[in-house]
């Protein structure tokens, strides 16, 4: 499978990448290429020029900045999964990055490409929602920040403008509670059939003080399961209540259906994995 012809250029800085993008019609960035190349081979995408941003050094670092962790767009899933700062501060993100596809995919795929591409079956969008991340973009009119709640608009659709580069993502570090990511992976591709990120903070008596639940793979884009959160907020998560609340996981969305998982099946798995994720988060030692 050979994609249609394109020009190729390597950019060595953000400025260069942006000026190439503005001066070329029909150009696209390539980072890890693990979402773009399959599309190009199927000819669902036929860019006239590929701007390779992979070697831009300034987009490859992870740093702690006060109570946030800032992750450069070109950090690979493997880098994120193994980075000590992330493992400590954002354990569910490390867990999710470590479960993306397989080793080869994690070695090449980047967080910037993952969020910009916004595949409904990707793993990282729910983590961005869980932590309330901010996406930092840069374009011809300068920098622009997107709160994650305004970023994912639909399948493969985000608020990022075609003239912008995703520079980094910053995650606020929760000061209490604990969080996990539970995933039911497609057995061949590794993509999420259902992925559930959950963060819970309880008081000494086990009453839920705060909770966030976000899902991948289930709807047309990652979403917060606010009905589940509301059902558990301010209450003690008995098995019975948890079971009931988990069934609200698909309340607010149109559930996807494909050859591997019917709508009903996916709905069921979403409830089971929501319950497991919240239970494991509750059982985990809190920060």
């Amino acid at each position: 499978m050979i994609p249609s012809a394109f020009d190729y250029r390597r950019a060595s800085s953000v400025e260069e990448a942006l000026s190439l993008l503005q001066s070329t019609e029909d150009a696209k960035f390539v980072a890890g290429g693990h979402s773009l190349l399959p599309l190009m081979k199927m000819r669902f995408a036929s860019p006239g020029m590929l701007i390779d941003i992979r070697s831009i050094q300034e987009l490859q670092s992870i740093r702690r900045d006060g109570n946030r962790v800032v992750i450069g767009a070109l950090c690979t899933h493997r880098h994120i999964a193994n980075d000590e700062t992330i493992v400590q501060a954002l354990p569910a993100l490390a867990e999710a990055a470590g479960r993306v596809g397989d080793l080869q995919v994690r070695n090449r795929g980047t967080i910037g490409g993952n969020l910009a591409h916004a595949d409904p079956a990707s793993d990282l969008p729910a983590l961005a929602l869980l932590y309330g991340a901010t996406i930092h973009a840069e374009g011809p009119d300068g920098p622009e920040d997107y709160p994650v709640e305004e970023f994912f608009l639909g399948p493969m659709t985000t608020a990022l403008r075609p003239t912008q580069l995703l520079r980094s993502v910053s995650f606020p570090v929760p000061d209490r509670g604990s969080e996990v990511y539970e995933k039911f992976a497609h057995p061949a591709s590794g993509y999420a059939v259902v992925g559930v990120a959950a963060w819970v903070a309880t008081d000494a008596g086990g009453i839920i003080q705060d909770i966030r639940v976000a899902l991948n793979g289930v709807g047309y884009c990652a979403y917060r399961a606010t009905s589940v959160e509301q059902a558990l907020f301010g209450r003690e998560a008995t098995e019975e209540l948890l079971e009931k609340a988990s069934h609200l996981a698909t309340e607010e969305v149109e559930v996807l259906e494909d050859v591997f998982a019917s709508e009903n099946y996916r709905r069921h798995v979403a409830a089971v994995f929501t319950r497991r994720a919240i239970r494991r988060a509750l059982d985990k030692a809190t920060r």
Partner: protein
């Protein structure tokens, strides 16, 4: 490679170190690394199956890191180091990992084997004594239609325990 635009139709030189040898190949931007290895350099040990990143048979090492060569354009690896199955095979006989695959019946048709062996190379470098879970995780990107995987797991364990 210069910073100039490499145009779609023209061929451009790409310089890479393949199995320790400096190579220059002339490619169109849309040519995949997997095809260039096979057709330009004659390294047919790198196999091509699904061509969309799922089966893993096209796996090679890029700067020592396991990647799929069907999801990389050759122009992207200009200036980098590629290792294929030919690069880890001794001139005579078999490498310890290859010998262990033979001993444990870790292959049948052999189609997935080059990628499996390279994956084992990469795994054993970082995990000299991998657990079964480590092995299964490391191999989750490589599909085998013949062995049922157990003999491959046995080959890796056998090799890590006995040989090195």
């Amino acid at each position: 490679m210069s910073d100039a635009v490499i145009s779609a139709s023209g061929r451009t030189p790409v310089r890479m170190e393949v199995n320790g040898v400096a190579e220059t190949v002339y490619v169109e931007p849309r040519w995949l690394l997997s095809d260039v290895l096979r057709h330009q350099l004659g390294l047919t040990g790198t196999h091509v199956g699904c061509e969309q990143g799922v089966c893993g048979v096209c796996t090679v090492l890029l700067d020592g890191v396991l990647v799929r060569s069907c999801l990389l354009f050759a122009v992207q690896v200009d200036g980098h180091r590629v290792t294929t199955i030919e690069g880890v095979t001794p001139d005579e006989g078999l490498s310890p990992i290859q010998a262990s695959f033979q001993r444990h019946h870790g292959l049948q048709c052999g189609f997935c084997t080059p990628a499996m062996v390279l994956t084992a190379e990469a795994l054993l470098r970082t995990h000299p004594n991998p657990s079964e879970a480590d092995i299964r995780d490391a191999f989750s990107g490589n599909i085998c239609r013949c062995t049922g995987y157990q003999f491959i797991v046995d080959a890796i364990r056998g090799c890590s325990e006995e040989e090195r």
